[in-house]
Structure formats: structure tokens, C-alpha cells
């Protein structure tokens, strides 16, 4: 299967691989996918006191496109508010990485991971 240069770049040099403390009240964690389906993404975001995402980390079990999608969104998330983060669409991810149709689900999973991380963070913060 032919991968785009951007997918290969993220696959070879994934950005922001790692783990944040999931018990930190400023950290939101999203874990989506299932091993039997071939992809599991864990995405974590950390917000500062002004509500801006100052750090994002990921770990992904999945194909090159899944790794690239999650690596890319960690770059995009930094500096955004939670509301801006929730607006990231899978189509933008797929377009940026030039994902072929059979790999669109990887970008969908990345969008789901963002939503899950944002929801987790919001649930931790006082209303």
C-alpha cells in the first residue's frame, strides 16, 4: 500500500509520544478503538489555568495511518481551547495526510479520541 509522504513522516518521526498523569485534574484522557479491530488510540491533553491546551500526548496501536492521524492531532491541539479542539474534523485530518478511502476510519478514530479526551477533562472540572 502506498502511503503519503506526510503519513510516512509521522510514522517515522511520531510527535508527542508519551503519557500524561491521567489523575491530574488538568489532564483529559481519551482511549478509543479495540485491539480486535486493529486500532487503539490513547490521546491525552493538558490545559493551563486559562483553559488553553498546553500539552498533548498520544500512544497508538494501529497501522501507519492511525499512528500518523494521532501524531498529527497532538500537533494541532496545542494552543487551542477545548471548544476549538472539539471542532477538529476527521475530514481535515484525512485531507492533511492524504489518506486513501480505506484509511478514512483512522481519521475518524482520531476525531473520536479528541472528543473523548475533551469530555474526560470537562467531567473533571467544576461546572
Amino acid at each position: 500500500m502506498a502511503y503519503s509522504d506526510k503519513v510516512l513522516d509521522h510514522y517515522e518521526n511520531p510527535r508527542n509520544v508519551g503519557t500524561l498523569d491521567k489523575n491530574d485534574p488538568h489532564v483529559g484522557t481519551g482511549m478509543v478503538g479495540a485491539p480486535a479491530c486493529g486500532d487503539v488510540m490513547k490521546l491525552q491533553i493538558k490545559v493551563n489555568d486559562s483553559g488553553i491546551i498546553e500539552d498533548a500526548k498520544f500512544k497508538t496501536y494501529g497501522c501507519g495511518s492511525a499512528i500518523a492521524s494521532s501524531s498529527l492531532v497532538t500537533e494541532w491541539l496545542k494552543g487551542k481551547t477545548l471548544d476549538q479542539a472539539a471542532e477538529i474534523k476527521n475530514s481535515a485530518i484525512a485531507e492533511e495526510l492524504a489518506l486513501p478511502p480505506v484509511k478514512i476510519h483512522c481519521s475518524v478514530l482520531a476525531e473520536d479520541a479528541i472528543k473523548a479526551a475533551v469530555a474526560d477533562l470537562k467531567s473533571k472540572q467544576p461546572a
Binding site: Y3, A34, Y61, C63
Partner: protein, 405 residues
């Protein structure tokens, strides 16, 4: 260390033609181009002589009579000819039930499926978790109308060697025609058809350093086994397989099998040493699982699963070595190997498996490079893997409720 990448470790897919084989073939393309069926001039006689010399060599490797060897285009055709040919010939007298195994090559399984569409019934035996057949289960699958059994000698994915003698004896006792796909066996295990209770056996050249596009079917003479031709025409090969013989291909197969007969003992020792070195190196990685029995196995094959690493990213990571993967990445879906699934491996482990197959031209440097590459790439992918992290945290992944998508 200087090795030329990609390193070829896919000898079970195909082998290079040995230069000695290629050299012997060339004059039969240009100079001795005659049709071996031409009886009226020396062009034909020369070609026929070469064909018969090659037939002798194929027969010698497996201790058969040359008159028992029928040329085909390869093991797929041999399997089809044997299974459909024998099933159709004997169904009227013996019955319409066929026994085969879930881990057979598709050329066997799909030939049997085709017969099912024509009114035959079939049992696809599940192998044991080590890939071998339980003889008692084989016996239990026999029905009064069982006409044919087909069991491969050496499995293409996991390299396990079935007990052909024992299975053949059971077939003899029950008056069942026994076909064996030996495409992966020639030059790797000793085959003595004078002793083996086998009626039909499929061979091909290109897994044994011969050219692609040529194979043979062994058809036993004593007791005589009959098959219905699947290819009709000029009545070549005693009517069993019509079509002008591909002299140069046949010469190549003959020479490849002659070399295999002379060199297999020494070659297998060398290959085993390399395979054991590879296994020892890879077993230094945590959470690896060998697929298939290690004792009843050709030395050429190592099939191993790397847990907590996804199959497709694994294949991307190891592009410097040419190997086969347990996940057949077809365009739309990721299908795990049906062979590994039949052994009871989970989808995840089936996906993350790699078949390393070693051969005549593999070197120790190739193996050491491969070990170092696998260690580094598996390490990198596990760094990236949330499943590996959970495993290290002591979480039992089978107990996790995943948000399936």
C-alpha cells in the same frame, strides 16, 4: 556490517532460480527449441530426450518411477488435477465425501469447495494448536463414502510436517485415495514414494530453486491410480494433461530437483543453524510466540507473533527485510491468516505474525541484521503502543471493555 537490503527471507513464497539451473535451461529456449511431441525430426528428439531426463530427475528425488510423473504448470494445477481428477473418477464407485484440513493451501481448499458445489461433501479438519493433525480425529472424520483425502506434507505458513506415513496408512486401511501437496517439501524433507502410502503428490519447481510455471503430479502405478483429465487436447502425458510441454521449464525443474537431491542434506544443516540463530535472537524480545510445532517442522521456516504490535505497522517497520505477514492486507480489509486462526490464535496475534523463511542464499550476516532490526523496530512500535503500556502496568487486556468501532 554490510548487507544488501532488502534482505530476502521469503523463500517459502518463491526461491530464486539457481544460476546452475538457469544455465541449463537457456539452450532449450534458443537452440533446442523443438516440440518434444515432434517425432519426425531431431529437433523434437532432442527436446524429448531433455524432457525425459528431467522426468528421471524429478522421479529420483522422490524415489518414484519416471512413468509416475505428469508435468503440469505448477502445484496449483497439480492439486486441482489430483483432487478433481481422482474425486470425479472414483466418485461413482466409492462415494462423494472428501477429507482435507483447514490449514491446506487455497489451491486444495478451493478445489474441494468447487467439488462441493458439484454435489460432493467435505470435512475440513481443524488442526491441533501446534498445526498437526490428530490421527484419531482424522479417523473419526472417515465416512463409508469417503473417496479422497488431501493433506499437505509441509505447511506453507508455519512449516509443520504432517505424519504422512500414518495418515496414508489410515487411508489405505479404509480404501481412500490419498493426495499430498508437497510443494513446500521437496529439498526440505526426504520423500520416498516407494515407502510412503501416498497415491497422488503435487510438486512445483519454484520453491526448490527452479523456474516458476512448472510443476508435476505423481500418479501411483502400483496400485494404479486413475484420474480424469482436467485439460483436454493433444493427449500429452498419457492423456492426463494435454498441452505442449514447456521444455526449458521442465529442464529447469529437473536440474533443480537433481541439485536438491545432491545437496539437501548439507543445505538443511546450514539452514537449520541459521534458523536456530534467528529464533534465539528473536526470543530475546519479550512477548513473542512461535506459531506451529518446533519439532515437526522444516528448518527453513520460522513463524512468530509479536504481541502488542499491530500487523500493518509492523510490515511498514520491517521494509528492509522481505518477509510474509500474517495479515493479508488486501485493499479493503485486514484479514488475519486463516492458517493461524485455525490454530486458535487470536486475531491480534495472527495479525502481528511474520513468516521468516530461510534458504540456499541466506547468510549469517542476513540473520544478524534481521535480529537487530526486529529488536529495534518492535521496541519502537511498543513505545508507541498503549496496549504495551497497559500490559506493563499489569492490566489484563482481555478483561478490558473496548469501545468497539
Amino acid at each position: 556490517m554490510t548487507v544488501k537490503t532488502p534482505i530476502y527471507l521469503d523463500y517459502s513464497a518463491t526461491t530464486p532460480v539457481d544460476p546452475r539451473v538457469a544455465e541449463k535451461m537457456i539452450p532449450y529456449i534458443t537452440e533446442h527449441f523443438g516440440n518434444p511431441a515432434s517425432r519426425s525430426h531431431p529437433f523434437g528428439w532432442t527436446a524429448e530426450e531433455a524432457v525425459e531426463e528431467a522426468r528421471d530427475e524429478v522421479a529420483k528425488l522422490v524415489n518414484a518411477d519416471p512413468r509416475e510423473i505428469v508435468w503440469t504448470s505448477g502445484a496449483t494445477e497439480s492439486n486441482n488435477l489430483a483432487i478433481k481428477g481422482a474425486a470425479n473418477f472414483y466418485s461413482g464407485t466409492k462415494g462423494k465425501h472428501i477429507i482435507t484440513v483447514q490449514t491446506e493451501h487455497k489451491a486444495v481448499i478451493d478445489a474441494v469447495r468447487d467439488l462441493e458445489r458439484q454435489g460432493f461433501t467435505a470435512t475440513y479438519l481443524a488442526p491441533e494448536p501446534n498445526g498437526l493433525i490428530d490421527l484419531e480425529k482424522f479417523k473419526a472424520a472417515i465416512q463409508p463414502d469417503t473417496v479422497l483425502a488431501s493433506v499437505m506434507f509441509v505447511n506453507n505458513e508455519i512449516g509443520v510436517i504432517q505424519d504422512i506415513t500414518a495418515i496414508g496408512n489410515i487411508c489405505r486401511e479404509n480404501n481412500i485415495i490419498f493426495h499430498v501437496d508437497a510443494a513446500q517439501a521437496t529439498g526440505k524433507v526426504e520423500i520416498d514414494l516407494e515407502k510412503l502410502p501416498v497415491d497422488l503428490m503435487s510438486f512445483c519447481a519454484h520453491k526448490t530453486y527452479g523456474p516458476k510455471g512448472i510443476g508435476a503430479l505423481y500418479v501411483r502405478r502400483k496400485p494404479r491410480i486413475r484420474i480424469e483429465a482436467q485439460m483436454h487436447g493433444g493427449g500429452h502425458e498419457r492423456g492426463m494433461r494435454s498441452g505442449t510441454l514447456a521444455t526449458h521449464q521442465i529442464v529447469g525443474m529437473g536440474e533443480a530437483f537433481r541439485l536438491a537431491r545432491l545437496e539437501m542434506k548439507a543445505e538443511n544443516l546450514k539452514v537449520r543453524r541459521l534458523r536456530d540463530r534467528l529464533l534465539a535472537g528473536l526470543e530475546e524480545i519479550d512477548e513473542v510466540y512461535v506459531n506451529g510445532d518446533m519439532d515437526h517442522r522444516v528448518p527453513h521456516n520460522l513463524n512468530i507473533s509479536f504481541n502488542f504490535v499491530e500487523g500493518e505497522s509492523l510490515i511498514m517497520a520491517v521494509k528492509d527485510i522481505a518477509v510474509s505477514s500474517g495479515s493479508a492486507c488486501t485493499s479493503a480489509s485486514l484479514e488475519p491468516s486463516y492458517v493461524l486462526r485455525a490454530l486458535g490464535r487470536s486475531d491480534e496475534l495472527a495479525h502481528s505474525s511474520i513468516r521468516f523463511s530461510i534458504g540456499r542464499f541466506t547468510t549469517e550476516e542476513d540473520i544478524d541484521y534481521t535480529i537487530a532490526l526486529m529488536k529495534s523496530k518492535i521496541g519502537k512500535l511498543r513505545e508507541l503502543s498503549p496496549l504495551w503500556e497497559m500490559h506493563l502496568d499489569g492490566i489484563d487486556l482481555s478483561k478490558v471493555e473496548w469501545a468497539a468501532h
